[in-house]
């Protein structure tokens, strides 16, 4: 019973900030600046990620409007795989929780892996800051085991 209550509370805290329109987000493109060999697929090019791969990306910094206390960032690869990660407390390094869908269409929820060197410029944007950049290093990127990438991203505020 105690476990069930904990799950419900955590779930609620995750879901509450999700109201579309209440959050402040920036959208843009990210490019891969370094990638481990595991990011490349031997099966299909559509699954491969390497230096120079570009993603659509959305950034939701912590503590703005209804964004909540965590920073969130998401990447879409080639219109098929969607990888959203939640960075607890917006820390520069730590363990993320990921949600989305793999290149195979598999639903993913609450996968955890390390991330590091997350850096936002400006460090604390306001809800009207027009441009933001974001960079970092993510393990098990796009739900690919052993795939670690470094990325750099440029964003514009979504009206």
């Amino acid at each position: 019973m105690r476990f069930a209550c904990a799950c419900l509370l955590a779930s609620a805290s995750l879901l509450l900030p999700s109201a579309a329109g209440a959050a402040v987000v920036w959208q843009g493109l990210a490019t891969v600046t370094a990638a481990t060999p595991s990011c490349r697929s031997d099966v299909s090019e559509r699954r491969s990620i390497a230096v120079g791969t570009v993603f659509r990306t959305v950034l939701r910094p912590k503590n703005l409007s209804d964004n909540g206390p965590d920073t969130r960032v998401a990447f879409v690869h080639d219109g098929q795989a969607h990888f959203a990660i939640i960075l607890p407390g917006g820390s520069a390094s730590g363990t993320y929780a990921s949600f989305g869908v793999t290149h195979s269409g598999l639903l993913k929820a609450n996968d955890a892996a390390p991330y590091a060197k997350m850096a936002m410029t400006p460090k604390s944007p306001s809800a009207t800051t027009p441009f933001v950049t974001f960079a970092g290093k993510v393990e098990n990127f796009m739900f690919i085991s052993g795939c670690t990438i470094s990325f750099s991203a440029a964003y514009g505020l979504r009206p």
Binding site: A23, A74, G79, H82, A84, G94, F99, G100, V101, G105
Partner: protein, 153 residues
């Protein structure tokens, strides 16, 4: 050490992994109709990438089916445990919105017209028209989509 988020998910999908031997179809989907409850979240005429991974041991896909609707900056992924998608089934769905909200729901497959009726490892394309309730985790939002899917590696 920060703990990952706890999340009460009804999905058997959590244990699934990206096996190499699998049968996956992708298609460009067109939204044919939506109900008023969908509001501005989705509208007729919109397109997005659809990925279908039907259940089947012969397909290398295991026992669960997945249907993913991936738009420019959001995704809605549905799964049915132990069956392929078909009319009258219920799915468990997860939406990751373009505002990076995460939500889950159980919805119904109201209609599922698929040709060929049975999918095998050699099936090249699937002509699909599907009507799905509670789309994008919006209760009462029923969407009809059409897609011609092609098998990909």
């Amino acid at each position: 050490m920060l703990r990952p988020f706890l999340f009460a998910l009804p999905f058997a999908a959590l244990a699934a992994s990206g096996a190499e031997a699998e049968t996956v179809f992708v298609g460009d989907s067109l939204v044919l109709s939506t109900t008023t409850t969908c509001g501005t979240s989705i509208a007729a005429g919109e397109t997005a990438r659809l990925t279908y991974r039907p259940a089947g041991a012969k397909l290398g896909n295991g026992g669960d089916s997945y249907l993913a609707y991936v738009a420019n900056r959001s995704s809605f992924t549905m799964t049915i445990a132990g069956a392929v998608f078909g009319s009258g089934q219920n799915y468990a769905g997860q939406n990751v919105s373009s505002y990076l909200g995460v939500a889950t729901i159980v919805g119904g497959v109201v209609g599922w017209q698929q040709s060929p009726a049975k999918i095998g490892p050699d099936t090249e394309t699937i002509e699909l028209t599907a009507t799905l309730a509670n789309y994008l985790t919006i209760k009462g939002c029923t969407v009809t989509i059409r897609s011609n899917l092609i098998q990909v590696k």
